[in-house]
């Protein structure tokens, strides 16, 4: 019986190197506008990580990410723009966002998970529409169709990023922390329990998993991450308006998750960045953008439902197989030599 190996897999090493190169090169190549877009991709990936916990691990399709992003964004915008007559420090606001979103997400999760399966998904659609309607129209809290501007930028220990490049470094650190958090979940009991719920709810119960509470916990985690993303968005773009939180935007997060591979921590990051950068790279083809995007999604589902990570994984497996069969061919010859 093979002993459990706890070495670092070659793929993790590759990822680490790729990341290092990415962080080193990117600021040299990008500036200003394109850096801003990349930053947005990083911000969105935080929300997508939350989604990957719900959808990838737990198998529950939820559109609620945008509702919570709005929560984080508007909360931040209200506290950090002086529009309510007072200013709150942005770092403190971030902490408050985390606390409040935990409570709200937990409560909403407790309510929504009285529904199961597709009913739950429709419940999240309902939630998105309700929150969007308020975000769009309720001027006192959400600025109405004009949104809220003049949001202060992030300030930690007296330091603020002065341009998008500096924001980039801040975001990379945050995304890395989130990614490690999510990967850790994947490998711990929570991740396994969610996967059990995804694949077989009844069997999960007989394995002692409290299905309802586990789902609620996953929803809370997703909500908090989305709210964090929303808060960072508000500070980065210094402007919040309701068209960031529509049903259509919710579908784009799902696509980000699926593109990279909803069950692969690195893949989620890649997917989010790619989807966000795509409109920029296809600048010239503005007219056909949505069409390419739409067709691309269909092709993605047909050929690579496990996303880029799935593709890479299959590729890795087929290489492993080839190596193994080569090793087997060599083994008998070695025995001969030993004699």
């Amino acid at each position: 019986m093979k002993k459990m190996k706890s070495y670092i897999k070659p793929s993790s090493f590759l990822i680490f190197i790729a990341l290092a190169i990415f962080v080193a090169l990117v600021p040299a190549v990008n500036q200003g506008y394109s850096m801003m877009i990349l930053n947005l991709g990083l911000i969105y990936s935080i929300a997508t990580y939350g989604l990957s916990v719900m959808l990838g691990l737990g198998g529950q399709l939820s559109f609620a990410a945008v509702s919570f992003m709005g929560l984080g964004a508007y909360f931040t915008a209200n506290l950090c723009s002086g529009r309510l007559g007072f200013w709150v420090d942005t770092s403190l606001t971030l902490v408050l966002v985390l606390i409040i979103s935990t409570v709200v997400a937990f409560l909403i999760g407790m309510i929504l998970f009285r529904l199961s399966g597709t009913y739950f998904t429709f419940g999240t659609i309902g939630l998105v529409q309700v929150t969007w309607s308020f975000y769009l129209s309720y001027k006192p809290l959400f600025g109405g169709p004009d949104g809220i501007s003049n949001v202060a930028t992030l300030r930690i220990f007296g330091w603020s990023p002065v341009d998008y490049n500096q924001w980039f470094y801040v975001l990379v650190v945050i995304v890395l922390i989130v990614a490690i958090l999510v990967e850790r979940i994947r490998r711990s009991q929570l991740g396994r329990s969610l996967s059990a719920i995804r694949d077989n709810e009844i069997a999960a119960q007989t394995l002692g998993i409290n299905v309802y509470m586990t789902k609620v916990i996953a929803f809370t985690i997703a909500g908090v991450l989305a709210a964090l993303a929303g808060s960072l968005y508000a500070m980065h773009s210094q402007f919040v308006s309701s068209d960031m939180f529509t049903f259509e935007r919710a579908t784009s997060y799902i696509i980000m998750a699926m593109l990279g591979g909803v069950n692969n921590t690195f893949g989620v990051f890649v997917g989010s960045v790619l989807v966000t950068m795509l409109p920029e790279w296809l600048r010239g083809m503005q007219r056909y953008l949505q069409l390419i995007y739409g067709v691309g999604v269909i092709l993605l589902m047909v050929f690579m439902p496990m996303g880029l990570a799935g593709l890479a994984g299959n590729f890795g497996k087929s290489i492993k197989r080839k190596l193994r069969s080569a090793a087997v061919k060599n083994a008998p010859a070695e025995k001969e030599d030993a004699k």
Binding site: Y119, F122, V130, Y138, Y293, V297, I298, V302
Partner: protein, 298 residues
């Protein structure tokens, strides 16, 4: 609030509800017959609106020419839609894959419409004009004024609903389609051409949604944002009881009426009202008006 307002809101609500019901029926058909949740339903309605607008306004075709031509268009669109968004995925192992590909199809449809017909919203003349004044035709009963086209929508919607029921309950073709849905393999063994039944289902769904688009075009402008109406249809499906056609229709009508009456007080927030109703329904009676609780065989 006078009787005129109440009646006209009610008629308005039911007629919008009819349009949602047409989409909802399509949704249920696809769920029951194919097992797909179609997030492109609203964009099919949008596309249908554009097609009929093009035939009516651009080509200035009279009604007797427009109807058969639009049916031809619907068939074409239905077949193309099926072969691109569904057929390659029919054996997919990842269940969310079909759903997500419909999201992609929705985007593609929006863009295609924009490419063909431009991005400016277009207006369509009312379905029924007063020949004397050239304006919208109205029915007057005492002090109550109702636009004829709303009534027409209700009538047409009811006719279509009836036709679909007849198809599935009475005709052999309908039974074939249901068989193909429930057990494709067995149906094929019985000689049922599943590819044809699938195509037929998609064509019907597109026709239903597109007719809804045609009816709604004079009321709203024809633009590529019409697709968002599908969310109302989803709400109707859920309220009615998942998988139940009668329920979906009643649920959609209910949504239409709720939406209409919410404009009295909460005009800006009618989305919130409609979907709060949905959420409350889900919590209080998740199986919907007519659904049954289905227990899993453990």
């Amino acid at each position: 609030m006078n009787i005129n307002t109440i009646v006209s809101l009610a008629v308005n609500g039911i007629s919008m509800g009819m349009i949602y019901a047409l989409m909802a029926m399509g949704l249920i058909l696809l769920i029951r017959a194919i097992g797909v949740m179609n997030f492109a339903q609203g964009d099919l309605l949008m596309f249908g609106a554009f097609i009929t607008c093009w035939l009516t306004v651009d080509l200035k075709l009279p009604l007797w020419a427009m109807i058969p031509l639009s049916i031809v268009c619907f068939v074409v669109v239905g077949i193309i839609f099926m072969f691109t968004a569904y057929w390659p995925l029919r054996n997919a192992s990842y269940p969310a894959a079909t759903v997500i590909s419909t999201m992609g199809a929705a985007m593609a449809l929006k863009e295609i419409a924009t490419l063909i017909w431009g991005s400016l919203p277009r207006s369509m003349p009312p379905l029924m004009k007063n020949p004397a004044t050239g304006k919208v035709a109205v029915l007057k009963i005492g002090s109550i004024t109702i636009q004829w086209q709303f009534i027409l929508t209700i009538i047409v919607g009811s006719v279509f609903i009836y036709l679909v029921f007849v198809l599935f309950d009475k005709l052999y073709a309908g039974r074939m389609m249901q068989a193909a849905a429930q057990d494709k393999y067995a149906a094929e063994l019985l000689g049922i051409p599943t590819i044809l039944t699938t195509m037929a289902t998609y064509v019907i769904v597109v026709a239903l949604a597109s007719t809804g688009g045609y009816m709604i075009a004079p009321i709203f402008m024809v633009s590529n944002t019409l697709g968002t109406l599908q969310l109302r249809a989803f709400a109707g499906v859920v309220i009615g009881g998942f998988g139940n056609i009668k329920g979906a229709i009643l649920g959609s009508l209910l949504i239409g009426v709720v939406e209409a009456f919410s404009t009295i007080q909460f005009s800006q927030y009618k989305d919130a009202v409609v979907f709060l109703v949905l959420i409350v329904f889900l919590l209080v009676r998740p199986q919907g008006l007519f659904g049954e609780k289905i227990a899993d065989k453990a």
